[in-house]
């Protein structure tokens, strides 16, 4: 496995998913509530510009992997003559606009659209999209894109909650409303994540030929276990901690703090696994 490419993919996914999720939560909150303290502008800018830079690195590393060297002719060849390259060219434009939108006076909806499009487009050159008959390619890519967007919403939403808890301590009333809001939308996101992810796993493992790779299965299992723990924590937040928080229970607030941080860490670990999974062969010849 190309270690550098795995690191770059991980950093890219983490930044883009967090930005998309955080701004989605902020934009959706504003449709029915007063202004919400989402992630600070400087952090959005850091995420946006890092996503752009890591996308460029991703392209360069793939060019090197395919051609043995990074030269203008090789870059042009990969960019225009491969599906990955063409998708990446479109993504780079979206990411450049997104980076600009993190510093420009535009609302979160603009950043949601740009980051969502850039994130969803990753699915075009994924394992899931490539597995199966050509006539259903876009259906598979759409499903994988949905999986990425749902996961991004979850991760970014957690980042906003973490900010509310730590960096910008919110009143109990605001925190309860925010957790309740995120919990409701998060339920939908998790449901989409699980359904789309199950379909992805079926495509990747059962549409291919050859025996399954033990390494791939191990990582996939680890991803599923971590996701299950995240779901368990989310359920605990909703069913147990949220009512306690609403009663101004200090212990519930402390437990919520630990739970949100734990979910965020687990989410980032999953992103790291995904960063590597995309480079491994699900089946072996």
């Amino acid at each position: 496995m190309n270690f550098a490419l795995a690191v770059v993919r991980t950093a890219h996914l983490a930044c883009l998913m967090t930005l998309f999720g955080a701004e989605s939560m902020t934009a959706l909150w504003r449709t029915g509530h007063s202004a919400h303290e989402g992630l600070p502008r400087w952090l959005l800018g850091l995420l946006g510009f890092t996503a752009l830079i890591t996308a460029l690195l991703w392209l360069m590393l793939v060019v090197e992997q395919l051609g043995g060297g990074i030269a203008p002719a090789a870059i042009e060849s990969v960019t225009y003559q491969t599906l990955f390259g063409r998708a990446m060219a479109v993504r780079l434009v979206l990411l450049a606009l997104l980076a600009a939108a993190t510093v420009a006076p535009v609302g979160p909806s603009v950043r949601v659209l740009l980051s969502g499009a850039a994130l969803g487009a990753i699915a075009v050159s994924s394992h899931a999209a490539a597995a199966g008959a050509a006539e259903y390619f876009f259906l598979r890519a759409a499903n994988d894109g949905l999986h990425l967007l749902a996961a991004g919403f979850w991760l970014g939403g957690l980042a906003v909650l973490a900010r509310l808890i730590f960096a910008h301590p919110a009143s109990t009333e605001t925190l309860v409303a925010s957790v309740r809001f995120f919990s409701r939308l998060g339920t939908v996101a998790v449901a989409l994540l699980v359904v789309a992810g199950t379909f992805n796993a079926y495509l990747i493992l059962f549409e291919g030929q050859g025996r399954w790779s033990a390494t791939y299965l191990t990582l996939l299992a680890a991803k599923l276990v971590l996701a299950a723990i995240m779901i368990a924590l989310a359920l605990t937040n909703r069913l147990s901690l949220l009512p306690g928080l609403a009663r101004n229970d200090a212990e519930a607030r402390d437990s919520l703090t630990i739970s949100v941080v734990a979910e965020l860490v687990l989410g980032l670990l999953i992103v790291a696994i995904v960063g590597a999974l995309g480079l491994l062969a699900p089946t072996m010849g």
């Binding site: 496995m1 270690f3 491969t82 999209a129 050859g210 980032l268 992103v271 480079l279 089946t283 072996m284």
Partner: protein
């Protein structure tokens, strides 16, 4: 998080096999009366610009009549008229998820 990725990078990994060869004509190890082309079928769609087939005789001479062409999951190359003997087919394939696989096999022409 980076420690996880580092740990993964240091583990021995199986050879990548994203676009796996599913069928070949002539088949691997086959004895045929003649062959005008070699056709290979893969498990995933290929990137034509980065995929190719070489065919050589026992002395290593190139026996292809043109550059290999790929469309969808199939790739083929036209051959020069082949004399009796053993031929080696070497292929490399890049799938749409950018992963490269390669392989080789032999077939024999016995008119």
């Amino acid at each position: 998080m980076l420690a996880v990725v580092a740990a993964l990078g240091l583990q021995p990994m199986p050879a990548a096999a994203h676009a796996m060869l599913e069928h070949a004509n002539p088949a691997a190890g086959a004895t045929v009366k003649g062959a005008a082309r070699v056709t290979l079928g893969f498990s995933e769609e290929l990137e034509p610009a980065f995929s190719g087939i070489e065919v050589s005789d026992a002395a290593g001479h190139d026996e292809t009549a043109a550059k290999a062409t790929a469309a969808g999951t199939e790739m083929e190359v036209r051959l020069k008229p082949l004399a009796r003997g053993s031929y080696r087919v070497s292929w490399h394939a890049v799938s749409v998820d950018t992963h490269r696989t390669e392989g080789a096999f032999r077939f024999t022409v016995a008119p």
